[in-house]
Symmetry: C2
């Protein structure tokens, strides 16, 4: 199947928009919208943090009813989390006002928030901005929507994929945000995807969960899983394809395309990780199970000592051994192999001769680092994606205030 990837987003039957409604200062965009001309099938994956924003609960309840959806409203600058019973009431207020502005049913509106925790949502500003937002939505306005959902991100994140199957052109487009508070296990970021495919609700949910597993669920910037994070996907069926059902060939093609899109967006989040200077892929191979490989990969990715060594361009494999040994997964240290950018440095748990260190140090200066770990215990493999830890991570997170 030929998959075309694009930096711009256009999905037939969808409109998007983003405006500044005054939650953030300085006229920065902080309210976004995705709207479907037709009732759309919807699915979502949500944060596994126990402390969950009311918008997360709200969406899950709405999706559980299994009814079509028309719109997603997203604000940045305020997470509406830890805001007590008022938080859920504010969700309802925003959904109702958005439904009125769009001429749809309140039960057809999904919600998301990102920003500061514990401050009541300024619903007045959002309500005041909604008509303006609706008036300015357009099928080519995804870049505005991508801007309106950002917090500490330096760049908007937007991507689309396209493929043709049985002469029907399927498009999937999406926007995402995330820069800090990024860790595996969903979602620790926001992602909003839209497709013109016709697909059953069950197949869409299954496809999203599968795509998510190897992409958004495998990235970590700082090991922090947030209270608000979610990925939502809407499918409006405009492509006119035979409705995709789970398990079919059409389904596999759709999952492939969706996974590519999610991976592209997930990588954009890591590359924009707070203070990041390097994109790091950690492959744990030869594990007894994928789950164990994932735990070990995350332990290495989240080790402050490994992350700071990467920032210092130091091939400090001892810190990798230390992080692996601490992860709680049994393995034999005497069988571990480690390579940096395909150059072997550790075999059977100890260093290869020093000769290549000078060359390796040079290699470590590049922006893309691949750490390959082989446990020689089984056949399972898992990749984790992360970035280094720099002065700027500390600066950003010491200054960003409640």
């Amino acid at each position: 199947m030929r998959l075309r990837r694009s930096k711009s987003v256009y999905v037939p039957g969808f409109k998007a928009g983003g405006i500044a409604c005054g939650i953030k200062s300085g006229g920065v965009k902080d309210l976004s919208l995705i709207y479907s001309d037709l009732p759309a099938v919807a699915a979502g994956v949500f944060t596994r943090n126990q402390v969950r924003a009311p918008s997360v609960e709200y969406n899950q309840a709405l999706l559980n009813r299994g009814r079509p959806v028309r719109a997603v409203i997203v604000n940045s600058g305020n997470a509406n989390a830890c805001t007590g019973p008022q938080g859920m009431r504010d969700c309802e207020t925003v959904a109702q006002a958005a439904a009125r502005a769009l001429g749809v049913d309140p039960g057809e509106v999904l919600l998301a928030s990102t920003g500061v925790i514990g401050v009541p949502l300024p619903t007045g500003r959002i309500l005041h901005g909604l008509n303006h937002l609706v008036n300015h939505m357009a099928s080519r306005s995804w870049p505005h929507a991508a801007e309106g959902i950002l917090t500490t991100d330096l760049v908007p994140k937007m991507k689309s994929v396209e493929y043709t199957r049985a002469r029907k052109k399927i498009l999937i487009g999406g926007i995402a945000k995330g820069s800090g508070m990024i860790a595996p296990n969903m979602a620790t970021m926001l992602g909003f995807l839209a497709t013109n495919a016709a697909i059953s609700p069950a197949a869409l949910q299954k496809a999203l969960s599968r795509a998510n597993e190897d992409t958004f669920n495998r990235i970590t910037v700082d090991g922090a899983c947030s209270t608000n994070d979610l990925v939502l996907v809407l499918a409006n069926g405009k492509a006119g394809n035979p409705r995709i059902q789970a398990g079919s060939g059409d389904y596999e093609a759709f999952v492939d395309a969706l996974t590519t899109l999610c991976r592209d967006l997930a990588f954009m989040i890591v590359r924009d990780g707070e203070g990041a200077t390097k994109f790091v892929t950690i492959t744990v191979n030869g594990a007894r199970s994928r789950a164990e490989a994932a735990v070990l990969g995350q332990a290495v990715a989240d080790s402050l000592l490994v992350k700071t060594a990467l920032f210092g361009a130091d091939p400090n494999w001892g810190r990798i051994m230390g992080a692996l040994g601490q992860a709680g997964v049994p393995f034999d240290p005497e069988r571990v192999d480690i390579a940096f950018n395909r150059m072997p440095i550790v075999r059977n748990g100890h260093a290869l001769p020093k000769a290549s260190m000078a060359h390796l140090r040079k290699k470590m200066k590049c922006r893309e680092i691949e750490i390959s770990i082989h446990l020689h215990q089984g056949k399972a493999v898992c990749k984790t994606y992360t970035c280094d830890l720099s002065y700027d991570y500390v600066r950003i997170n010491a200054e960003y205030t409640t």
Copy 2:
């Protein structure tokens, strides 16, 4: 019981020393010794990292034999970890040479190493330095020993406690090192303690494990548990007290004194945490069990977002809620109370009125921060001690090289 604490160390029947043998450059001390005139009862607690330095294995095997001990040899600048079969051979070589220089049996010598991982131990330099080290040991030379075990530490860590029981004066003195790679679950640091008490081996081991649990096991700088870490204690019986047995009143008095010493040394490690500008106590109260309180406390202490907020003097309780929610321990977010330096800021999971925030921000500028979390789920409590994360942590760990 009156306990006298002192910054200097003198324990009857013990000598200590520290010299520069050339593992580190610039004539910095890197080889230390603690020696007992009499055969001493010994006990130890060791890292729970799966990747363990040969010195850790070596000591455990030796202590398991339950025979008296005469000396501990410690080098810094090289961890002798991940060094393959050569690592254990190097342990034996150093122990044999030290035994010869001291005129004791090789089976009476304990070992410890700290520093870079994966580089063979420069045994030649150590062997060359041993006679000099032995010639310069003295009962008042603990400060030299405290210096010789340091790596990135800024200050040597040394302390003693003294109490009298049934007219016998019991002293316990100790030195410690640790600055980065500090996390709970033993040991992530080195500690060497000596006492003149007469105590049974079983009681000494039990006392050390108990003292360790609330002190060295409850500190974290960067969540990294190292390959080499251990605390050893030697007891030579010179006080002439009736031999302490577990469970007795004498035993409880000894545990109290030992715990005080371990806590003082543990706090010195946190205060000297790499780049630390604040000493932070996290109390989790109202948990269902101490173990759960410990997991939650550590999750907050190790959260990069919490640590950087503390560096920025920002009372960002939302990040605390996020860290708690991610820890894998069930609790009701709607019942959580949080206070900073005894000023309540969160009640029942959401913020108290904003009025006090300005005052709180000022309070957050001080060097000692107390975060109190109450879950209202049970009666268990656990304290965790940590520091903030500053630019200097990143600098130190990006520059410290393999």
